[in-house]
Amino acid sequence: MELLIIPLVFGLISLILPSSWSKLIGGVGAIASLALACVHLNGFDPLTQTILASSNKMAFGLTFNFGYDAFGLVMVMLTNAIIPIILLSNWNRELANNKLFTALVFFMQLGLLGLFTAQDGMLFYIFWEFTLIPIFLLLYWFGAKENNKVLFKFFIYTLIGSLAMLLALIALGSSANSFAYADLKNVQLTQEVACWIMSGFLLAFAIKIPLFPFHTWQPATYTSSPMAGTMLLSALMLKMALFGMIKWMLPLTSEGIEIMKWPVIILGTIGIIYGAIIAIKQNDIKTLFAFASISHLGLIAAGIMLFNTAAWSGAVIQIINHSLISIGLFLAADILEKRSGTRNLSELGGIAKLAPRFGFWFAVTVFAALSIPFSAGFIGEFILIKELFNFHLIVGILAATSLILGAVYMLRSYQLSMFGAPKISSFEDLSWNEIAVFIILSLLILGIGLCSSQIIEYTEPAFRVLTENLTSNQQIIE
């Protein structure tokens, strides 16, 4: 339970103490969380599950169950590793000295950790909603001021999705007389009911991921957010939906998968192409990265719907990979925006010459986003596209085109901003914390690329449990 308590405590402390303490508290809290996650990782046997807290059934069948399997732990680890990186990339920005900001980041972490470890449907829902509060306040207080409209769109969108998920959960819970994960999973559904319930989950997840055509809140939100907000959204919050699909939606409503996988895979595939095509001619670099993200996530979502351990292995690697890459890309975009005063690619140029270190690390990030050999994406994309290909030839071929389109828009964005003759006179090169972020990200991407088979082996038992037939559920979860 300390996993959840640490961010809560540090969040409260940072609210109480003056802003001059924020950096210190942020650093200590984030590192403490990470260290604790490492302890958990060290003591965990991937063949088992760990229970953090459990209670008897309370009113309405609610329980207070927390725990994780290997997949949940990987997500916990991801969260606790990403939060310090986000704080570090903010280190030399004003926000780092704001106690509200630091507190919100910790509350965000609390929500995420709660979500990844919840073993009760209502807890899952509560944490799902809870994460919305810190991110909304973060965007509202620290984002571009004129963008209330964008913010409301984002908020209403996600709220509608959540509502659908709430209904789905209640429907499930009422037939199980309990909201405990194991009980929910044991509910036998007819195919039709399963489809309806899955649709409820799906609406929430499709908006959060976001899947085409539910993505329209995203580009505007990304561009008007402060850097840390964009990072939290793309690196962590979107992953809640992907996690929810694997851990909650599909195992709970597996009876409906045969019907429901088609629309999602089709939308995912459309998203892969659509996001990439639009990114090709985008001039706003943050919007460009937002559409690139839609393209990448369409692939992951489509792969998850295949409902098999191999595709999920690819998905988990891509989930981690996408988190790391989006932090790198949005950091680069922010550096470009802050130091040149524009996000418009046609007004940028020649920065590689003015800021060679930035040029180098931005290039590394771009190549990682292109899934070059030795990077995490190389293996992740390979598995996902392979599984989609096995599912359907056309889907596989369309997914493979992302290889080409990705090269087009990523290299274009890099080239227009960094190469050619400089259009501005000076550009401050990276500060130490930014270099540190890029180095950490690169090492992680490289390390995951090299150790991908270990990660796959680690999460495979958990995935096997999640994909197993309903009949054998009783033996697995005591």
Binding site: T216, I277, Q282, I372, F378, K386, F389, S452, S453
Partner: protein, 643 residues
Amino acid sequence: MAVDKLILILLVLPLLGALVNGTLGKRFSNALVGGIATGVMLVSFCCAVLVFNQTNDTKIIHLFNLLKLNDFHINASLQVDALSIWMTLIVTGVGTLIHVFSMGYMSHDKGFYKFFTYLNLFIFSMLLLILGSNYFVLFFGWEGVGICSYLLIGFHYSDAEKGMANSIAARKAFIMNRIGDAGLLIGLFLILAQFNTLEFTQIAEKLALDPISANGAIVGITLCLFIAATGKSAQIPLFTWLPDAMAGPTPVSALIHAATMVTAGIYLVVRSNFLFELAPLTKDIILGIGFATSMVAAFIAMRQNDIKKVLAYSTVSQLGLMFVALGMGAYTVAIFHVTTHAFFKALLFLGSGSVIHAMSDEQDIRLMGGLAKKLPITHLTFLIGTLAIAGFPLLSGFYSKDEILGHALAHSPILYGTIMISVALTAAYMFRLYFLVFHGKFRGGEQLESHVHESKAIMTFPLVVLAILSIFGGLLNLPGIFLKNGTHWLQNFLNAHTAGLEKIHAEHASHTTILALMAVASTMTIAILIWAYYNYVKKNRLALADKELVGWQLFSNAKLYIDELYNFLFVKPIEYVSKMAYSIIEIKVLNQGIFGFANLFGKAGSLLRYWQTGLLSSYLFWMVIGLIGLISYYIIKLQFWNF
């Protein structure tokens, strides 16, 4: 030492070199950086020679498990057989020479250490591509060389004048290669679906047990692999990146875009010969594409005026010839031509580098002339390279082209006749290039002339070595008429120890036919040489300015307008679709139409703005929302619970 250790050393050393130079090179002197990079290459080459001496059978070296999913697994493993070790010898051998040359050529460049880092990294990727024992490792290297190629083409991205052009050329190369890569990836999946393995030897065994030639899957697989090959090896329709890739420093053109990377497509087809043998349709397509590429590129090369562009189109054309050989099933012949081509084309490119160096970076042959006296070593070696590529009797290109021509004649006399045209064009544009650069009067003005000087020994030494190889390279695979024993050494070597190849016996023509073919080819080459001498030296017909070109010369000079055509057919439409998708689907339909919450909530937002005047009110607002949510939740809960 054991083979597996040697192979590991020769593979890892270039990577180590890249790591050391990449991280510490900035602090090292140029000599040290160059020394490290070239040193690892030399050691790698020596290891390759040692392995070569011990190669007698296909050997698989298992390194580790790369990927294990429930239904299949992929190993990181290497395959040492005649084909892979032969390619390794070419890559490390020619690579070493080009590293030596680069130490001189790049000596004034600020990015010296970066250049050698990329070069070593390229060699590592290329070796992975060649030595991998399955398609996955091959794909790994395949992608890797593409990236190194991108980095090296755009090496001078910050150049004030050409920086943007260089980086555009690099991007074009990368994207066109990626189209091929997507083909390879799909091919990989098709192979996996069909054979459930990616190991070359296992696929060959499965096919040997049960040749499923009727199966359409093989055609699909081979077509995908061939698409990949057209990307890497610059064949129609994906060939336009290679001439543009000349934006890279000249040693890069020699190493990557002439001797090694661009032959990866040929290697892929030869490596997959057991698949292609079962797909006659694909082989016919390869033959057709290879032939067409060879003709088109040779035609364009006739009226190019940039010394490197001529050589680039020549490379495309020669690669086309290799694909013609592959299409006829003459796999070893293609590798033979890969070998000799690596020698003389690397020589020609390095020679052109020496010329460009002497000309203070001027590449237009209309401004050169009479360089023979000023650059004696460059001139002599360039002449040897020109003669070799033109197929002058007894030089290396003569033998390898003759093998292709012999097979073509056996295939169909019409094919033979048309390929002869391509060969004739090769001789014509190469002699044009040679005479315009090295003979006649200097046309670049006095100021430029005063700077012209022969390159340093570090640059001329590789030229001499490559020239010697270009002269004697043909001895590797002498046809039967010259020696009773030991003929076709390379062919026999490759056939004996390469999966699938042992079953394929190349057609042999009779001695008289071979002699007749050689006589015809020699006569033609010598005739063209005399014509070119007469035309360019005696009558002093110089290359024309762009405006004075007429008829076919216009088309040749304008590269047949293929870039413009692609721009019109692909680039513009995709950009148009991108813009339209954004302005219509994204903005009009999704944002303002069916999912148009924006307008609706815009209004709501303006209403709610009254609530948003300060921090306190926003807190209140959220408290209210929260309370409402909580209450409605419980209400719904109770409703459901009690029914």
